[in-house]
Symmetry: C5
Subunit: 291 residues, 5 copies
């Protein structure tokens, strides 16, 4: 995630950050400029079409469909942002959950019990394993060793977060059978242990389910046809100014689609992605403080 | 579900996927082209109406109602998408729930207890039975045998997911009466067992409740009249260009309605439907890893 | 509720269903046509106002306010639809709840215990009683007898769903005192018993709370003035075509308000109302299968 | 709350209810009419500005900003309505909660136990106390006496709903210590007792937190400047018709802001406010029926 | 937070509050006026461009993109407001939670037990510590001493709210081991203790996660280019009136972005921020009344 000061307008407007959409769009913007230039040249100089024909009024179509395309892009923006924000909420829930688990286990486990050490290591391990799992990798160096858990011994084929959650739950039920955790305390821990798996499932859902294919295909086709037909009619009223005008309109519409694509899957390493690495480190720090 | 790379614009724009709306709409698009052509020919050549009459200003009506139709289609898109996404969330909840059940039963049941085998089979069976139930079929080959459960013996008349949930709950309460599951552990399992039935009910609700009839009828009538009256006025300003223009406008409006219809019931086998088959297989894989 | 195939466009467009808004609006549509005709005749033939005066530009007001009225109607549509859909969700929750109750009681109660019979009858009775309660009637023939419950003996004055819920809860606590239901099992049943009353309260809330009076009055006044002033200005540009144009615009705006009014209270017997009768029957069927 | 039949259009359109915005706005509407009249007179008769100058095109600014102002007012409407509806939901939750408490206590407490009488009085007392608390008054006559509770003895300084909730919780824990309420039953009562305080807190939050000051100030300034500059440009195209036109536009924009202000705090005695008085009485009636 | 009377329009419109956006924007508004003046002077007087060229129709681009920019700003407004309102809800949840904790502990703990004193001090301490934590400070003078807790002894490096929550939870589990709090009572307290940490985590999430960088950068670039190009085309139709017109349009668009930036992080000391100081004091008052 980019850390930034939202109030510094100057930087925003004049600096082109590497995650800016201009960075990715500029070849298409130049093609767009050339394309509009050719259309204008043909219509105005070669064929010398007069502005009285029907073609010059085609722009009324762009006016009519301007609502639809704007609303569709807002729909696209909203759904993409909702996933990004839901992803953030899930990681926020993970943070809360790890803290609650640590606080409760600290109050329940007697001082010196080796299970304290086990949970101090394993709770943050879960966060790191989930972070990597959502990037489709398994990186043992991120995890720390605990009694009965050896990061490098974990097979790459299995679902690592599930494996860690199962280990923690087994430890809790073992302590319950040893009467170190009472039945009432087990009940109070239950929800927190469930949440680990719920967060993992919700993040997988966000990652694996982009917006339905039909919408994605339709929006792209719509933008393409809309922008490609733009110069036909407008060239008669604005002349060669159609070149910056269609470049700017294309920039606006395509940027919205591009940003939506990027933030839709918020667990990678893109500039707008969630700081899962930092959150995992904070979990390790705070759990260490408490337990 | 179509697996696709949302960043590959070229394919999106030029390839016509079998689930594209153009595939379904082309006969209507051609009819629309012929219809606009006839209207234009009649108005311009046969009746030779001049562009000064009131008819040429009818297009102001389309401008005024352009907002309403756009906003209605966005309402339609939002409600359809919400069902699709809620369906996905419910199946995500099922995944989480099956994992939590497996993780807990793994920690609770003593090694070697035959109930482990029972739940390892029955939890994924529930997912497969639900998938088929939502497609109105019962397909015993998808389910696996367990002690006390024989897929081919299940009657086609009954509600299969309910039947499986009842079997699992009965097993849990039998283990509780045998003191293999303690009272505290029963309480921690309760929510997970409830969720099975809640997911099933929510999916049935989405499947059985399309958008109210009045909206569906009104939106279709509105699009039809809107597009049919489009050439009357615009023909005077754009001439024969009205043909591609009304085809494109019709394509945009009808596509939105068509996609909404398709994703509204997300449990079938359409290109945009949810991958319930794959999810069920993953549940079987992950429950097998844990239990 | 109307059962329909959302993909059958032809029927939607050309058939006028009895729940269509045209069915209710046609007297107003005809009045609107006559009214616009008179205004046009007066302005064009009697007073022979020229299209140069200020009146002909009054249509710019309709353009400006076109946004506001569209957005207001979408607000109206969204809030009405949300109530309809929340009503559906509540009945879906009732279905889930009845199934969960039945599944659990089936696992808890020993075979042959008379309480099985009691709950097999009373759980579906609750759904039927709620359905009738939301229609302000009490219809004993819908309910079935159980030991200690005689439908015809219930007073019409009392709140019947509460009465049934109290009976079921009393039975559960009696079984608890008899140690047939253990304390742990009581805790797992608690939520399901609460939900019965929660669903009832939520449905009463939806039924008794229409959109605030001020909005309802304001939207109707706004539509009325908007449509009534429409012919004044537009008649100069579209001539007598103003008649179908203002009829169509009135049809669109009034339909949205009319549909919203109808689906706002979804528990009656209107064409768009929820199928509470069918849902209640399904609850009786499924509870009977399980218990 | 005004009880009304949403389908009676005639009354809505022609009757001016005392809660109608026209009732409050008419002095401003008249000022607006005079103001537009003066501007028109000056521009048309005194300075005799021709419609060719730049001023006559200023109306394009109103077109451009028409979207923004409409969308802002919809934002305002949505947030105000959400508070009103959330307030209604909270009171609905209170109703459900009081019923569930009564149903459970009826099943738990032995017949004749004096605690039945206590809760029969105190549960409805809570609703009445909350209703008055949200109107910043304490009105002992609304409350009924119970053993150990004397309405007139309550100090006006303290937080009365908290005081009542604390009394009820104390009674429950006393019964628990006397073994009249078992531990399992205590757990099932816990959530219902929490909800009393949660409803109170949520209502206080709605009441004490209007929309951020900046939005309120900005929307009012924006409407004011927008409407004040309206006659400058439009007078050239519509002439003296600008007077009704700017009055109507002002009526529409200001009404939306006015209604939003009124329903934002839904716990008072305004025409659109929630019927908290009636709901409290219903709670007393239904709790009396059950307990 | 500014306390204000939302019905006092006069003050809103004519008084410029220090938190008004005009206060911050005026240097930019003056620059905008100068810039438009220069462009107008160049186009009209120096280059004497006629209004027939293409440049004068560039304003159609601003019309087309007017939808997009309005909808984007509404998206921005909605997301910022949602964070503000979620922040308020979280503090409301904290209020409810502290009251519920106090009410329950009052009913559970025997009179005179020193733990009463401990919780009477520590529950409000948590609110004050959270308030300061969200402002990145630690201010021991806000906290009160309790047995086993010395505000000035707390290290500045650790996470203070976590530290306080851990202390409270430890006290509860100690009382549980001493049988002063029974197992059933422990279960009923569990949720309330979890909520403390959940509120803290949710507030940290809101504070640390502004809207994705790409949107923030894109919206600012878009507003900038949109407003900068505004005078080019409009100058031909409105003449020097372009100066107030572009100043006003810039004022509207930039204000929306500015307000959104301010309320996005609602835990500081800005005029629109939440009254966390007052809420904390109320918690101390109400907990003191109860416990």
């Amino acid at each position: 995630m980019v850390n930034y000061n939202p109030k510094d307008w100057f930087t925003f407007i004049f600096r082109i950050h590497k995650s800016d959409t201009i960075e990715k769009l500029w070849p298409m913007l130049i093609s767009m400029a050339i394309y509009s230039g050719i259309i204008s040249y043909l219509e105005l100089e070669v064929w010398q079409l007069s502005g009285k024909g029907g073609l010059s009024n085609l722009s009324s179509m762009h006016g009519l469909l301007g609502f639809v395309i704007s609303l569709l892009l807002v729909f696209r923006t909203n759904t993409a942002y909702d996933r990004w924000w839901e992803g953030r909420k899930q990681w926020g829930a993970l943070v809360n959950d790890c803290r609650n688990l640590a606080i409760k286990l600290h109050a329940i486990l007697p001082p010196g019990n080796p299970a304290r050490e086990f949970f101090r290591t394993m709770i943050p391990n879960y966060a790191f394993a989930l972070k990597n799992h959502l990037r489709n990798i398994y990186h043992p160096a991120d995890l720390e060793e605990a009694h009965d858990f050896e990061p490098t011994a974990v097979s790459h084929d299995i679902h690592v977060p599930n494996h860690l959650a199962a280990k923690m739950l087994q430890e809790v039920h073992t302590l319950y059978r040893q009467n170190i955790i009472s039945g009432d305390q087990l009940i109070t821990l239950n929800n927190d242990l469930n949440t680990l798996t719920n967060v993992c499932g919700a993040c997988e859902r966000i990652k694996n389910t982009p917006i339905p294919y039909s919408y994605s295909a339709f929006i792209k086709k719509f933008i393409f046809i809309y922008v490609m037909t733009l110069p036909f009619g407008y060239v008669f009223s604005v002349g060669y100014y159609i070149i910056p005008m269609s470049v700017f309109i294309f920039y606006v519409l395509a940027s919205l689609e591009l940003i939506a694509e990027e933030i839709e899957d918020p667990f990678g390493r893109d500039a707008n992605d969630l700081p899962t690495e930092t959150i995992s480190k904070n979990i390790r720090k705070h759990v260490g403080e408490i337990l």
